[in-house]
């Protein structure tokens, strides 16, 4: 995390003085983008850098499910399972993805290529069901489209 401090310094300049604890969230995002997850040493380093008590960083990490404490596969498949997506077949998409990848939601394939997650509303109910591949939305998902998608990424 130490190599990110110059970036953190630039972020700090955008906040009023004395609001360093507000930097916890953007710094954690940056750390996760860099490492793929937030490691214990990142927490210790961040507490030291921001002069924030350890427990405050732990609270933020446990509150937001998007912040991870462990690494995931190369490709992160996130399937929305809220009402609109469920009504348009999300459960089938999830079941099919599980079968294709041989994992349950929350697990990573043995070869480390895929992690499958189910998530709350992705805000794209008009094109339900929706699946996210890393940062990209794949809308109006069908089992055929999912097969093609996984084949293309394997």
């Amino acid at each position: 995390m130490k190599h990110l401090i110059p970036e953190f310094e630039r972020m700090k300049a955008r906040f009023p003085a004395g609001f360093d604890s507000s930097l916890v969230l953007p710094c954690l995002h940056r750390i996760q983008a860099d490492r793929g997850f937030v490691a214990d040493e990142d927490i210790v380093g961040l507490c030291e850098y921001l002069k924030v008590p350890r427990i405050q960083v732990e609270e933020v990490l446990s509150y937001y499910t998007m912040l991870r404490r462990e690494g995931i596969g190369k490709t992160h498949l996130q399937v929305c399972r809220n009402i609109a997506c469920s009504m348009r077949g999300a459960e089938d998409v999830i079941e099919h993805a599980c079968k294709r990848l041989g994992v349950k939601p929350g697990q990573t394939t043995a070869d480390g290529k895929f992690t499958l997650s189910t998530v709350e509303c992705l805000g794209s109910c008009g094109t339900a069901p929706v699946l996210m591949v890393n940062d990209a939305y794949h809308e109006n998902m069908t089992l055929e489209k999912l097969d093609a998608l996984i084949a293309g990424l394997s």
């Binding site: 008590p53 350890r54 427990i55 405050q56 732990e58 609270e59 446990s62 509150y63």
Partner: protein
Amino acid sequence: MPRLTIDGREIEAKAGQTVMQAARDHGIFIPYFCWHPNLSVPGNCRICVVGVAEKDGGEWVEIACNMPAAEGMVVFTASEKVKARRKATMEFITLNHPVDCGICDKAGECTLQDYHFEYNGAASVSRDAKTHATKHFDLSERIVLDNERCIQCTRCVRFTREISMSNGLGMLDRGDHSIVRPSPDGAFAKDAYSDNVIDLCPVGALLAKDFLHKARVWYLKATPSVCPGCERGCGVNLWHRKDEWKLRSPRQAARNEGIDRVTPIENPAVNGPWVCNKARDLPRLFGRVRATGPLFKGAPAPCEAAVLEARALIAEAKRPVAVVSSWASNEELAAFKAAFGSRFALVAKRDHEPQPGEVVQDDLLIRADKNPNAAGVRAVLGECGTEVPKDADLVLVWGEGFDFRAVPAGAKIVFLNAFLAPENGHADVFLPLSIQTERSGHYTNFAGVTSRFERCFALPPGVLHAEELFGSLVGNGRGA
């Protein structure tokens, strides 16, 4: 200064006060869980809802803890609307509570229990299974946490952030999975004020391991006392068995004469509403093995003969020195002065010194002098010496913590002490004294504030009160 009406009573609030503060100042009760007069206002429990009259005759509800008192406001603390809202809030707060009052130490002094009787009283209307959480979680070596009983008021978390400043606790996760946890860096275990969270907890989630399943609180009575742990002299309640609830089994009889737990007495002039963990450990300090009979050079002696021998030694001495206890009460010091006048050269003793690992001094309460009445010694006896003069031929040692190597060779020793110690047997005459819990008296703290402690227990057989003893140590020879 805004004037407002609460339940038909017109009151004047101080500038900047909330409705909750103004109501309390005027003796009007509004219930609360998460609010605390000495902590920040999170407004998360919603039980302090009150009604506020609207111009058109209607009424809206708002939490009293976070609502500024305003001019002309008309507030109702128990209107039908407020009662309905409060009942719904209680239903919500107890939604996942295990209602295991029968085996909970907090029962009898639990805010949740009291409010349930007062504001709801009905069985749960929920058809869903209760969520489960960790039970018997070791929060520290001193405190056990039951997360199912917790109502997430966050008083304990805020205490460690705003008062003790250890940042030892936090609220992890979200929603009905929220859970109080200690910081992984161990900050809570090092917090010298950690046990205050037990009193702060409005439910039975945080409990003292020392008191766990020891007694129902209604078996106990609280005797007001003063913590002798340092020269702050915090007000404490010493809780011990009521006479009508004494344990009858001989195996447990010793517990009738012991302190079960210690809680703070709020005193703004001395300790505010808090005490440090040392006060909570007073049962161990007072529970040490006692000296129960007089000794002549280690051999048991009858009490009368021992007193006469001590009196003779004092009468015969040419250059007697008294080493005075800074754990003595003002009354004992006055009795000493009345009995002996200027018979002794005086040395003031620190009976207790900081122990390894103990916080020596901080900005909140803890003071470096670990004795309760050094100021009282100065006030009653004047400035005393710090070392025993080399030419002394008799040393009267009063209390613990004296290094007997400081006694000049050949000088006689009269030793007054409450606890069993190897030094007791080295004295020419040893007399066993009472401890603080067996008498009443006053201590004067470092700031000059005098606080009274009351007697909890009867005097054990063979033990003497210093206050009464000193009078019989004056006189001539061994004759009566």
